[in-house]
């Protein structure tokens, strides 16, 4: 075997696979963030805490004996009403003020603080590590990958495809895009804009919760788990274009691959500054991101 092929098989490919797992995970979290921004024009600073909430709810429910597979379905269903109530009860209160961006950002920032401290109060500050639902690993083309990570890539891809299908190919998605494009016009055509807004927020939050359940066996569950993860998700949303689903997928894969490959050549601690540096440069030269907004083009 040539040296280049060996390098690929033993160094580059495993690293890219690790990057891919992280990429799918980040995209799941970033999807909710971008939908909420695209539709409501709200930067949800508490999104990382909703991701953590999903993981903690799953943790609590698994202690009473519910199996992982059921939780995968149950947790997003629990998160939906939570998100709906937060949107109707909190965000709508400042939604119609002149300074919507700043005030909703501040409000969700406060909510995130409260949630994070509440997790610490209820579950303690130490990390919990749920058992991996699928043990073992698979080997393909000489590359070893733990089964659960393979499962995560497949399920994650399916969820991303399903979200894209709902938004771009169903009547519900058309209503969402119409409300994002022109709120008043959509309302006068009979779209229940209020419910679409609250529903989209709930949906985004439920996606974050689902990501929390899926990722808990890999990254552990702890009160500040959302904080580290959300920075990457924000970067992905900004680079991809705020409100763009395609953008999130492309930027999510791109950035995590850059991070994974860069870590091979320089110390991994520098990969974070590089990724955030890309975000800053992107905001400077093309603040709208790679792709346009939801409902626009």
């Amino acid at each position: 075997m040539s040296e280049a092929a060996q390098y690929f098989q033993f160094v580059l490919a495993p690293q890219m696979l690790i990057g891919l797992v992280l990429g799918v995970a980040v995209i799941l979290v970033a999807l909710g963030l971008t939908i909420i921004f695209g539709l409501l024009d709200v930067i949800n600073m508490s999104h990382g805490e909703f991701y953590a909430l999903g993981a903690f709810v799953a943790l609590a429910l698994s202690t009473i004996g519910l199996p992982f597979w059921l939780l995968l379905l149950l947790v997003p269903l629990i998160m939906l009403p939570v998100g709906y109530i937060v949107e109707r009860g909190l965000i709508q209160r400042v939604f119609h003020s002149g300074d919507r961006h700043v005030r909703t950002l501040l409000l969700t920032f406060g909510l995130g603080l409260v949630m994070e401290d509440a997790f610490r109060l209820v579950f303690g500050p130490n990390p919990h590590r749920p058992e991996t639902p699928i043990a073992g690993g698979v080997e393909a083309l000489g590359i070893f990958l733990p089964s659960y990570r393979l499962f995560l890539i497949i399920v994650g891809t399916a969820i991303i495809a399903a979200v894209a299908f709902v938004v771009y190919r169903t009547r519900l998605g058309a209503m969402v895009r119409a409300a994002a494009f022109d709120r008043d016009m959509a309302a006068s055509l009979g779209v229940p804009v209020q419910h679409v807004y609250a529903g989209a927020f709930a949906f985004g939050v439920a996606l974050a919760g689902l990501a929390g359940v899926l990722l808990a066996p890999i990254y552990s569950v702890f009160p500040t788990m959302g904080r580290d993860f959300i920075l990457m998700a924000f970067t992905v949303v900004i680079v991809g274009g705020m409100g763009s689903i395609t953008g999130v997928v492309v930027a999510g894969l791109l950035l995590t691959q850059i991070q994974a490959i860069v870590s091979l050549y320089i110390s991994p601690v520098w990969s974070d500054p590089i990724v955030f540096g890309i975000m800053v440069v992107m905001l400077m030269v093309r603040p709208q991101g790679l792709f346009g907004r939801l409902g626009h083009g």
Binding site: V94, H101, L105, L106, G112, L121, G277, M279, L283, M284
Partner: protein, 329 residues
């Protein structure tokens, strides 16, 4: 003749005067009881009030939310610590910080002022994050441990010499410094430059038609905010004897934003009262439970929803009316 803006600024001065009087009483009581802990805590509150003041210049006057003001605060703290470790001189540390934060603010200002609104918040956040990670990973700056062993210094003020180890003396010095920063900012914002900023916040597209540039005042406001944050940060190692990368993290920037919004944005004095209130809350609640963030978070959310003008922003109009009555007709 006094217009509404000057009068509202004077109302802020009245509130600052009240705060200074209370601070002097605290200092006197602290000296009487030979206290160290509470005076140090109050000094820290004042230092973080300086950081909040810089956030307010951006949020309250240009309408731009900075989520990365800790970048300049941390820069000031680290630079001051480094200077003090080589030359134990207050004025050398302050001078170096003023220059460096102005320069950094100028460079940062060119980067962040390319965008508006929510993108501004995110780009400041991203920039501070890059800087914090770099400091966190740089061995020469102590990496995750920070810099320890900043010496106690004697600050020569011409007439008297104050030691940074003296609780009451250093408290008064920091008080004076923050009041000077406040007065400087308040003076600038009451000049035509300040009015231009307010006009920019109201309607940026119209400003060029009135014959003004939009970039210059924005940049000037950003540099001013960076300098105030940097100079406040420079005081931190003198108080604590160390600096840590946490000073540059998002928590620090976020706390400053909470301080300003709770105290009241766009009135400068809100930052000072907000910092006093939050420090008080943290130490009072902190003596009962470690979960003070829940209380502060709920309070902050309440302020965002019910009190958009903040604590002092709701009180100030009363003082304005009082001042208006006393003016000669």
């Amino acid at each position: 003749m006094v217009d509404a803006l000057t009068r509202s600024m004077r109302a802020s001065h009245v509130l600052v005067a009240i705060l200074v009087s209370v601070s002097l009483v605290i200092a006197a009581v602290g000296v009487a009881f030979d206290d160290t802990f509470y005076l140090r805590l109050a000094t820290e509150a004042l230092i973080f009030a300086g950081l909040a003041l810089s956030v307010d210049i951006l949020l309250g006057y240009t309408g731009l939310l900075s989520l990365g003001q800790a970048l300049y605060f941390g820069l000031g703290a680290y630079l001051s610590a480094l200077v003090l470790m080589v030359v134990p001189s207050f004025w050398a540390a302050i001078g170096a910080t003023a220059l460096a934060s102005a320069l950094a603010g100028l460079i940062g200002g060119f980067i962040v002022n390319r965008v508006r609104g929510v993108y501004f918040a995110l780009i400041t956040f991203g920039m501070a994050q890059v800087a914090a990670k770099i400091v966190y990973n740089t061995r020469a700056l102590g990496a995750s441990d920070g810099l320890i062993g900043v010496p106690v210094i004697d600050i020569n003020l011409g007439i008297v010499t104050v030691s940074s180890a003296s609780p009451a003396g250093f408290f008064l010095l920091v008080l004076a410094m923050i009041v000077i920063l406040y007065a400087f900012a308040a003076y600038l914002l009451d000049t035509p430059f300040g009015r231009l900023l307010i006009a920019l916040r109201a309607n940026e597209a119209r400003i060029p038609f009135l014959g003004y540039r939009t970039m210059t005042p924005r940049l000037a406001a950003y540099v001013l905010a960076a300098m105030i944050a940097g100079l406040s940060g420079a005081l931190y190692p003198m108080l604590r004897g160390f600096v840590s990368p946490e000073l540059m993290f998002f928590e620090t920037s976020g706390n400053a934003v909470i301080t300003v919004v709770t105290g009241g944005a766009g009135i400068l004095v809100g930052a000072l009262y907000g910092s006093a209130l939050l420090t008080l809350l943290k130490s009072v609640i902190g003596s009962y439970t470690v979960h003070h963030l829940i209380v502060i978070g709920v309070l902050f959310m309440g302020a965002v929803i019910f009190l958009p003008k903040g604590m002092m922003g709701s009180i100030r109009p009363a003082i304005e009316r009082m001042l208006a009555r006393r003016e000669p007709k």
